[in-house]
Amino acid sequence: MSSSDIYRELILDYYRNPRNFGKLDPHDIESRDSNPLCGDEIEIQIKVSADNKIEDIRFYGKGCAISQASASMLTELAKGKPLEWVKELSKQDILKMLGTSDLGPARIKCALLSMKVLKVGVYGYLGANLEDSVNH
């Protein structure tokens, strides 16, 4: 698949009208990262339910259509899922979500930035909770 095939109506719709865009207060998880090459920025905030599920999730950021649409679609996908689900999330899942088989090395980072942010946030939260339970 050529890289410009990614610019389909669906992606552009998510880019122009991002779902779950904004900040979430209060939140239990906050994570952000940027892609130094592109200047893409993604921040994700999550409210965690009592049974360790993603009760609510929002993203905030700026960047190219691929990074922003990917983040928006990912928040929709993640909502209601157990935190453990995030651990299983892979590059292939993101490509499938975007409806493409490959993006090439230059643009794949844009697509995967939000997954990285989500994983870092959730791993940090699970790690911190683990420490809490060990300490108590």
Binding site: S2, S3, S4, D40, G63, C64, A65, A106
Partner: protein, 413 residues
């Protein structure tokens, strides 16, 4: 129409094997020359000839090959020096590129000379490589940095520059040509103002030496840096020009073989200029490749190279002015800028534009162009940049414009 008034583009293109290749099934339209340029056959041949016929470690052996390598290396230094008007062999130092040249000045001159409370003056249009070494130097020494602003039309605020000179800065570093705006600074004037205030001057010529006649004597700068790969030469070779009196008062940068005269268990004595700053076995193939690149540019004539790029830039600016949704940054007149056109198209992110352009075989750069302070001062997140060289034609600009029209269609603007 491939013939410009100044250069025979079609003939030039035949010298660059890579320009024949196709990208995504389309003719390659290479407009990323401010990042790096393509290489003519003569440069590639100079490098392969060196390895096929003359390779040896220069300055070390007395055998025939070593003598040949030494002579070729020395001759390339003279050749490169003549190209920028350097009068002395000793004033031309080989480095890995403009970035290493700037770091050499930071360690060799900056560390022993810049003191606590000193002022370092930069401009907001500098490439990161002409900012970060000075930030680290300032942090180490407790010096402070002031950035000269740009005016609304993308030119250096010379009034502010003059004001800052009244504060007697220790060091003033500025670009001759912005890699984003294309703005050509009046370096002779800036050097003269800086010199009068007692400052040491560093000129980043990475975007000027490849594109226009440059003369370090006329400019009267203390240091000037550029890279080989941005001017048809190979990667990994660059130049630091330094005024002899400045180079003499400097400490070595890297240390090891070749930069010493004598080494004893009690200490060492440094080699003479320029070798004092060239530790270890040097990039001889790079020096020969750069020398061949300069032969090629001189055969075209740097005045004509400049004229050609000015013509192309004027054409690109004219086409972009007539196209909906395009914002161009930098001076309005092509005569005031190098062959670099940075722009945004509507609210489309430059990386999306670059992807769509790539699909059409058009290679451009997108992002912050290693000039984040400038990009921030323009109030934007990123820009797309087309940059020209000797093998580009108006047809390349036309290809760029039709690819941009495709981007406009995809994003419905």
């Amino acid at each position: 129409m491939l013939k410009s008034q100044s250069l025979e583009v079609e003939r030039i293109r035949a010298d660059f094997p890579i320009l024949k290749r196709r990208v995504h099934g389309k003719k390659l339209v290479y407009l990323d020359n401010a990042a790096t340029t393509q290489k003519p056959r003569s440069v590639i041949k100079a490098i392969s000839d060196y390895y096929m016929k003359h390779n040896a470690n220069p300055h070390r052996g007395v055998h025939q090959l070593s003598i040949e390598a030494t002579e070729a290396f020395d001759e390339s230094r003279r050749r490169i020096g003549r190209f920028i008007g350097a009068t002395a062999f000793e004033e031309v130092i080989f480095t890995r590129g403009a970035t290493e040249s700037l770091n050499l000045v930071r360690f060799g001159w900056g560390v022993p000379h810049v003191k606590e409370g000193d002022l370092i003056v930069l401009t907001i249009m500098e490439h990161h490589s002409n900012i970060v070494p000075w930030q680290l130097l300032a942090a180490e020494k407790g010096a402070r940095i002031e950035f000269v602003r740009i005016t609304e039309d993308g030119k250096l605020d010379e009034e502010q520059f003059e004001e800052l000179m009244s504060e007697s800065p220790a060091l003033v570093a500025f670009t001759q040509c912005s890699n984003v705006l294309g703005t050509i600074n009046d370096v002779s004037k800036l050097c003269s103002l800086a010199k009068r205030s007692g400052a040491t001057t560093v000129v980043d010529a990475a975007q000027s030496v490849p594109h226009m006649p440059v003369d370090v004597q006329k400019m009267d700068c203390d240091f000037l840096v550029f890279s080989g790969h941005k001017m048809l030469g190979p990667m990994g070779i660059g130049i630091l020009y330094g005024r002899r009196s400045k180079l003499q008062e400097m400490q070595p940068f890297q240390s090891g073989g070749d930069m010493i005269k004598e080494v004893h268990t009690s200490g060492a004595r440094w080699n003479d200029l320029p070798y004092k700053f060239e530790a270890g076995t040097q990039n001889v193939e790079g020096a020969l490749g750069l020398s061949a690149a300069i032969d090629y540019l001189d055969s075209l004539g740097m005045d004509k190279v400049r004229q050609h790029e000015e013509d192309l830039t004027a054409y690109a600016l004219e086409r972009m002015e007539g196209a909906p949704g395009i914002t161009v940054y930098g001076p309005k007149k092509a005569s005031e800028r190098g062959g670099v056109v940075s722009f945004n198209l509507g609210d489309i992110h430059p990386h999306d534009i670059a992807s769509i352009l790539d699909e059409e075989g058009v290679a451009v750069r997108s992002g912050h162009h290693c000039a984040q302070p400038l990009i921030e001062s323009l109030g934007i997140a990123a820009a797309t940049r087309a940059s020209f060289y000797v093998y580009n034609s108006r047809e390349d600009v036309d290809a760029l414009m039709s690819a941009l029209a495709k981007a406009r269609r995809i994003f419905c603007i």
